[in-house]
Symmetry: D2
């Protein structure tokens, strides 16, 4: 576990679907190539943006196998294991390990209300059951519990987690976590925000897990590389272009849920860019209307991704 340290741009890989809601493997292969061609530093399979909780074990197996095969060892792969409770997560973790993933991404339990102490047990039990590095995934908007600073520290000190993916939206707290782990070079902090990457990297984050990276991986890689060489003006400028591109996630609401608007916006853009075949999500997410598609197309044009 000690040698595994994620950094850079690690997008949550979108899961394209066929019309009958199977995993669209050819499109998924194209997504992987698109990301690796864009220069990403790792792949996060079966994340929230990947519609993980919509997929059953068989579909998750298809995703894991397809991505692993297409990636063929070029970049590190980590896999989400999202499900409500410990032993069900362990089943997914074993599946991910067997599919060749190098790390696991684990949230707190959800649906059930769990204390911070039980959350520590949850992560520890998973670590004990499957010998892979664990990235703690802080995502209160979905799991409705915060991974508090002392919880993260306890899990690191016990050797259970090696990284944080912070999708809490509480960037101030993430900055405090950076402080808490300031002296721990083997701990990675990755922001889940698409629009605060320059500031997060300035503050000390090691990388980013941008859903929008499915649409424009090269943009995020440029942002990261500018930051690495200390060119913060260039990093900010790239970030500002990506913020414009990020407007695609808001086009669906209020006709759809934020989820269907956000991931649906990514899929729509990827379809328009010729990367995937279909833009629909898993049920019951609503499909964006043609009018919304037109707006997303306009945004792709304005941000230089699509020639008119």
């Amino acid at each position: 576990m000690s040698s595994f340290k994620l950094h850079g741009i690690v997008p949550p890989v979108v899961t394209p679907l066929t019309h009958d809601f199977k995993v669209d493997k050819p499109s998924l292969r194209k997504v992987v190539r698109h990301l690796i061609d864009g220069g990403v530093h790792g792949l996060f399979v079966l994340g929230s943006t990947s519609e993980c909780v919509f997929l059953n074990a068989s579909q998750r197996a298809d995703v894991l196998a397809t991505v692993a095969e297409e990636n063929n060892g070029r970049v590190p792969m980590v896999a989400g294991t999202m499900d409500p409770t410990t032993d069900r997560v362990i089943e997914h973790a074993k599946q991910a390990r067997d599919a060749g993933m190098q790390g696991l991404v684990v949230t707190a339990p959800f649906y059930t209300r769990t204390s911070q102490a039980e959350t520590i047990d949850h992560f520890t039990m998973i670590r004990d059951a499957v010998d892979l590095p664990i990235l703690a995934y802080d995502l209160p908007v979905c799991v409705h519990i915060k991974l508090e600073r002392p919880t993260l520290r306890a899990l690191y000190d016990k050797g259970v987690i090696c990284a944080l993916k912070d999708s809490s939206g509480d960037d101030g707290n993430m900055r405090m976590v950076m402080r808490d782990f300031g002296g721990n070079d083997d701990f990675s902090i990755l922001t889940g925000s698409e629009i605060m990457v320059d500031g997060a990297l300035l503050g000390g984050a090691h990388g980013c897990v941008p859903g929008l990276g499915n649409v424009d991986p090269a943009g995020y890689v440029r942002l990261y590389e500018a930051a690495k060489r200390g060119d913060w003006v260039a990093a900010r400028k790239e970030q500002e272009r990506l913020i414009e591109l990020f407007q695609i996630v808001f086009q669906g609401v209020p006709d759809t849920s934020p989820n269907a608007s956000g991931v649906g916006g990514f899929k729509t853009a990827m379809q328009l860019l010729g990367i995937i075949e279909n833009r629909h999500m898993s049920r019951p997410n609503k499909v964006l209307s043609d009018e919304k598609v037109a707006r997303i197309k306009a945004i792709l044009g304005a941000t230089g991704l699509l020639k008119s």
Copy 2:
């Protein structure tokens, strides 16, 4: 679907576990007998109190088969289908149908953020896939979305749902739902509260799904029957005794989560009463300490369930 109308006391059946976290079938059979001997009007299998989201498909199958066999048609059975998303719920729904359940209990999607319109689609897709009556389960504390009044009405008008199990804690809103369905005799409203049953029945509820009914089914049946015959003083008196008994759910906190304190409290009481073998819950719920067990024992004594 039209002839199915739940009423009365329909407890969520606790799921006893063996030491290695399998379904403890002999204990589960004793739970079912305990409930039916207590006079309950139906069984709600695989509810939140049953630790549904902790159980995989195989464990759920064990629960469904064991309860169905032990019940042997004596009272109606409905089954929870809890999982985050539509198609995964449909898998559970088919399993429940095949195990002989007469109805499904369905929540809104969770983990993913879903709109009211997508929630309507969610229920409708499940109804279309499995021809069983559906009880809408309003449980924002777990799924973090409210089944709003217009949503319930739309689902009823489309023939998708036949009942509401209201575990929202918002009894004022439930009263408004009673008003909304005042003229619809084929729609049932069941409260999920253990401590507001007299008032709910006075207001027009048709029954109750009390987790605490696992400990004292006969008490809830007495409460219900008093209310049915209009003896509200007797109903209130029984309710007040059950409120004292309900204190068992608070003994665990803050050492455990509310969940481990609540369901763990039920299990501890049932173990003390000789109904089940073990009191532990699924992982990562913490086990109540001996000191907490002693306190629960004292409450059982004070409320007349355990002779000292």
Copy 3:
């Protein structure tokens, strides 16, 4: 303090306004007469429904003096003292005392984030400064902190509070408070709900503070009296009529805030019934449109308050 025990129907007295936002004293006198003629058991002046936080010290003085004069000792009067912090509340408390109020209604501090321990100090400092009985006002929707069960108990045991006005909407918790104070005959529990009064009285509440009581005080008095004589069927029937009447509070949204819809709905109904001159609220609450007024008029007709 020992002899003061509120019970029965104690409406929060609506504050009518002139066109230039002064207290409309003649209308306010008519409101008081309307309430006392309706048989109410007390008056709660300067409550949330009275737009208390919109009124400065001079306006509050006008309200207090006008109500006290018109009431002329017929029923007990208590006064809200709402403002964010302790010493500012004490100024209002002194004003209320000097105006002849028999009790104070006090919330937790707001705007500032206060702990339960500091909340106990807040109430205690007010009690020490002004020798009047205090009703604790639990209103998390406005002050965003809950008066927790141990806090209420501690304040009672210290002799600081003599009653609870529960507007929390958490009727299950209120039932637990009823249990906690089951042996304390000198402690009153009043529900702030308009639509759950029958159930609250069945559960042991001593009365109700219904904003809707401004529109139909006699209806609430009938409900209360039916409950007192144990005629729960009659109580429920009256409650159900009042629930229909309560629909007036929903007509404004989403064009206005819930506040402007609710209190604005009361004021509109009172204007239609000829009790007050104007229906506008304090700024910046929006005024209900003519179309909404027509709907409220229809509800008044359907519930028997207005002849067509």
Copy 4:
């Protein structure tokens, strides 16, 4: 209004108190000198950190006069006007104008629930009543409503507001506001965060309103100046030192509220540094214990502010 644009470090000026809770004017003068000597670019009087909502009109007048006199025109001054409702805010606004403040800081209404449309009216009515530039103060943790992006835009387009003070903690949304106002050079965005200033300035913020600036104004000025000259490494390093200093705000909890821990922490540090006489806050905030004071002293030492 057009020529007024805040930028740089504009601390919310702490309000020192005498033992009998009057404004400690000599200490307040020392605070003002301490801030101006530290190089701050403006003063925000009567902010949340200034305990604004604890102060009555007379105390607010003392603060305004004392600061205005001591500042003597050296830096721009803006004043908070916090109270729950429009017309009461207008009274404070007039007082601030008459005391020579150059701008007003205004929140959404609180206690009462207000819609976004009514919030727009609220700001507009205040602007119409008092001809001073208005900074919109986004502070959902206190007022429990968000100033949404379209609300801010509408207020700017109507000429009502000239700046945002963002204390929402939602830095991602603030970044979107920066985008929304990217082409409006006459609109200022100031972050209320103490610990995310480098990132906010990188993203395009014009300044900061740091409560911690009362303790170390020169540190924040160094941070700001480093950012202005594009030396982001120096800015980050200064920020990291200030993050260590910021730990003083956490020492009080859980023995006190977050408010008493935070502002109480600032006051304690300022007393230790010899700037103010007393460290207690307004009632009912608890005073930090001697043990907490010792911890704060240690932090001051470790961050170079206090010689041992």
